[in-house]
Every structure is written in C-alpha cells, then in structure tokens.
C-alpha cells in the first residue's frame, strides 16, 4: 500500500519533464555556436555604409533609380553593427520611395532576369520586411508618438498607440513597402518569402 502511494506521488510530480537535457549534453546544439556552420561574411563598417549610400544617392539624383536600387541591394549589409544596418535600410527605403508605382514591375522584371537577379530580389524582400517591422524608423522622421496621443480620451488609448497610425509619414512609408512587397511576389514568387525566412544572412 505504502509503496503504491510513494509511486503515485513520485509520478504526480512532473518536475523532471522541465529539465533541459540539452543543456547537460556537451554535444548538443545548445552548447554550440550555430554561426560557425556557415562561412563567415565580410564585416562592413558604418563608415563604409555611409560612403556607399552617398554613391547610391548620387545615382538617384542623376535619375538612375534602377542603378541605385541595384547598387544598394548588391551591397546588402549582412554582417555589421546595428547602426550600419539601419543606415543601409534607410537608404534602401529612400530609393524605393523615389520610384514611381508604374515603374516598379518592369524594373523588378529586368532585375530578376539579369545575372544573379534572384538574389537581389531576395535581399530586397529582406529589407521590405525589416522596414515593416521597424515601424516608426521607416518613415525617416522619428516622432515620439506617445506624446502626440491625446490623454483625455483614455479609453481609446490603444488606437493612438499603434505605431504609424498617428504618424502620416510612417503610414505613407508602410504603404510604399506594401506595394513593393506585392510587386516583388508577382515577379519572384512565394519562394522569395521562404528564402527570406530561411536565410541565415539577416539584413
């Protein structure tokens, strides 16, 4: 009788289920740096990014939007500081905003058909997602939305709290990114999204 009771109390406690056995195994993937599986990527400093962005802006001013887009996608920052990555994202978004809606699809098709163009569109897709996730950062103007929210309404505070809703320029930037997103999928297909999610090289 007592044995049975002991047994049931032992099984009732399921604390052992929460033991992280991977942490105890020296060979497990938890105790292993996954980044060593891939060949290292060259690191790009913020200064290099700024210099490159200057060149891209020059192309843009000269009217060569496609060249500018290609330029910044070919030099996508995979390995660099957050500041360098953000600076590059800012440039990509500037280029995207300066291209007219009617030019998007033909330009994407030209890039897709060129040598190595698929990779460029994958990089573009990564920047689109990064831009969308960044929220306020994408708009360029970093207005603190908190302070703009009227406090008096109280009950509807979540409406004002949504990033972009109170900020005209962020909303506009989002709609640019969304329309690019649609156009890129038309050209590069759903495979482009799976590659974005799969790729270990993050922008």
């Amino acid at each position: 009788m007592s044995i049975i009771q002991q047994h049931t109390s032992a099984t009732l406690s399921d604390a052992w289920r929460t033991i992280n056995i991977d942490a105890l195994d020296p060979d497990s993937s938890q105790n292993f740096d996954i980044s060593t599986l891939h060949p290292p990527l060259p690191e790009i400093s913020e200064a290099e990014v700024r210099q490159l962005n200057g060149q891209v802006r020059q192309l843009l001013r000269g009217g060569d939007a496609e060249g500018a887009l290609r330029g910044c996608l070919e030099s996508a920052v995979y390995n660099g500081s957050d500041a360098a990555k953000d600076a590059h994202l800012q440039t990509v978004i500037e280029v995207l905003q300066s291209i007219k809606a009617s030019e998007m699809t033909p330009m994407l098709q030209r890039i897709h058909q060129s040598q190595g163009g698929g990779e460029l569109l994958d990089a573009l897709m990564k920047y689109l997602y990064k831009g969308m996730s960044g929220g306020a950062a994408a708009g360029g103007a970093r207005t603190p939305t908190r302070s703009l929210t009227p406090q008096a309404t109280g009950g509807f505070s979540q409406i004002g709290g949504r990033p972009g809703a109170a900020n005209e320029s962020t909303g506009a930037a989002m709609s640019v990114l969304l329309s690019w997103h649609e156009k890129v999928i038309d050209v590069a297909g759903l495979g482009c999204i799976t590659r974005c999610m799969t790729d270990s090289r993050r922008v």
Binding site: L37, A188, G189, L190, R195
Partner: protein, 363 residues
C-alpha cells in the same frame, strides 16, 4: 500523357510509402502502424497491418529482392519485418539513439540500412550472423543537427545525408565483413567508416529536406527549405567540386526528389505537385510541372446556370467553389519514389503526402 493513377487510401497524412519489387504490395506508414495494401484489379485493398511501434512511424522501406520491410519511428526504434508464411515477423534493431528516428533506407546490396535520427547520428545497421542480431554503427561527425533524409550511392558504401544544420554530406559507411571494397570513384579511393567525402551547403543555408545521388552516383542533388535544389558535381577526393549549381525557384520548398537519368530531376513538396528540372554540369533549370493543367473534370470550366449561380451565392456567399486545389494532391507531397524504370529512365513514379493519397504518375 495518360492521367495519373490516384489511390485515396484514408484521410490521414502518409509519412512514407514503399512498393514491393513486383508492385503488387504497397506499404504505407500511418500513425504508429504500417498498413500493407495489395493490388486487386485497379485498386489497393488493405491486407495486413504491422503493429510494433508505439509512436508515429516516420519512414518505411521494402527491400526489393529479399522482401524484408524496415520501419523506424519516433519511439527511437527500428524494426525489420521478415516475410514468413504466417505473416511478417518483427526483429528489433539496436539503434542506440536517444531521439526519434526520422528516416530509413535499405542499401542497394540489402545487407545494410541507414537510419537518420534527431540525435545527430546516422545509425548504419547490419546483421551479425554469430549473434543473430541487427547491430548498428554510428556516423556521428560532423553532424550538428537532425538528419532529415538519407540516400544510398549505388555501391552501397557511400551514403548521402541531409540535415537541419543546412548541410548535405556524403559519408562512407564501409563495414568490414559486410561490404566488398568499393571501386575508387569521384568521391574517394580509400573509404574507412565515417570518412566525410563531401560537405555542401547552399547560399541561403536552409534546412535540407531531401538528398539524392544521380543513377551513376557521380552527382549529388539536394533540396532545401529555401525553395531551391542544388546539384553538386565532384571532381575528386580533397578537391573542390567542378560545379555546384543552385536553382532558386519561385515555388514553395521541395520535400522529396528523384533523378530520372543523369540530366533530369523530379521534385515535389509544399506546392502539392511535381516539377521537372533539366540540365547538366553546365547549368540546370526548372522546365515545368508534371501536372496536366485544365484536365476535364477539374471543374473550373463548368457551365453554370443562372439559378445555380444565385443559389451558390445565397448558400455560400460566392459563386465559385474554391475549396479544392487544382492539383491532384490536395496537400503537401512528402515522398517521391521511382515506381517503374526501363533502360535507365524512370517511366513511372509514385508520390504520397499529407492528404492520404498515393498517386502513380507517368514521368
């Protein structure tokens, strides 16, 4: 092109399927049992159930000559089912793994089989006569993650394995006393056990879902989760391969693939249909789908009466019935296998998937 032969067996996912050499018996992995179907007329009838695993069966393979069936499961075991006059007799194989077994295939010689696992090892299993026992040796280094699929070289010594650490690798599984010394090939000359003959990954480094040696064994293809297939042409041992060709597609990822001769690959996966790739060492490309689009009876070109249209709008809020995919498979295809070959070319292949269908296609 003749229409594919569709067998809808049940409404459960099929993890893996395998046909016997005479194509009269079909083994299907369904939950924790393997169902054996035999061909009656033009349909498959359930004949036998192999019960022995207590968790989901992940893979099943019938040896073409001996008729032995090997199964592996998430319960960390593999069973060899020996055919006998009174039915199939299971023998447990000592895998010595601590995680689920994910994939199993007989070697072409049928004296060994390889079991991939979530324990970062591949168990190479062979029969030890003196102990009357299936034992295993582990291929361990340098695997860093779960093995998703394995594929045997025609010489039964080399083994390709795809893993979730994004690498496709080629190992030697040479076992003294079981294997004859292999002929030197592009993969190497001296091949002691666990020699790594090649280690490949593609640019975006996605999980590898499927690996396959070409019929000659001189090229390796792998499909990864980045919707690509990559074909590797090795030059020789310790040298960089002469060509590594990646085809990034606009489609969803491929789960399984087979070679058809040396210059064609058939792959299928999350798009629920099979696609054809063609090429050689100079380059590969996607040439199209094997699905015959717009077959009669696929439903989208049917004439609708006005009454019917308004009735549909009233009942369902829409005119078109779009609950069916336009493909034969109605869900992800998880396995593609060669069904019939003649003169080195695949004439028919079979697919199975999450929708519980087995489909036999004309290649």
């Amino acid at each position: 092109m003749a229409a594919p032969e569709v067998h809808h067996l049940f409404h459960r996912p099929i993890a893996d399927h395998s046909f016997s050499a005479d194509r009269q018996t079909l083994a299907v992995a369904k939950d924790s049992t393997v169902e054996l179907y035999s061909k009656v007329g033009s349909t498959f009838k359930l004949k036998d159930e192999l019960k022995g695993h207590d968790k989901t069966i992940t893979s099943v393979d019938i040896a073409p000559n001996s008729g032995r069936i090997v199964t592996c499961s998430q319960d960390r075991n593999a069973l060899v089912w020996e055919p006998s006059p009174t039915g199939y007799k299971p023998t447990l194989v000592l895998l010595r793994i601590a995680r689920a077994a994910t994939f199993v295939r007989w070697s072409p010689s049928e004296t060994k089989f390889a079991v991939g696992s979530g324990d970062r090892v591949i168990a190479i299993c062979y029969f030890e006569e003196e102990n009357d026992w299936w034992v295993s040796k582990h291929l361990k280094k340098p695997i860093r993650s779960t093995i998703t699929s394995v594929n045997w070289h025609p010489n039964s010594v080399l083994l390709a394995a795809g893993s979730t650490d994004a690498h496709a690798r080629v190992f030697s599984s040479f076992i003294k006393g079981v294997d004859a010394r292999p002929e030197p090939s592009v993969w190497g000359e001296r091949l002691p056990f666990n020699t790594v003959c090649g280690e490949f990954l593609n640019n975006s480094a996605g999980w590898v879902h499927s690996v396959a040696f070409s019929p000659s064994g001189n090229a390796l293809a792998f499909a990864a989760h980045d919707s690509s297939i990559t074909i590797v042409y090795p030059t020789g041992p310790e040298q960089p391969p002469q060509a590594v060709i990646s085809v990034n597609t606009q489609l969803l990822p491929f789960m399984s693939m087979i070679w058809n001769g040396e210059s064609e690959i058939i792959a299928a996966g999350y798009d629920c249909e099979a696609f054809r790739f063609q090429g050689g060492p100079a380059g590969w490309q996607l040439t199209g789908t094997l699905e015959a689009k717009g077959r009669p009876g696929s439903g989208d070109a049917r004439e609708e009466s006005a009454l019917n249209m308004f009735r549909q709008m009233d009942l369902k809020g829409k005119v078109k019935d779009d609950t069916q995919l336009k493909t034969v498979h109605q869900n992800t295809i998880s396995t593609v296998r060669v069904f019939e070959e003649s003169g080195g070319a695949v004439t028919k292949f079979s697919t199975s998937g999450v929708d519980g269908r087995i489909v036999i296609w004309n290649a």
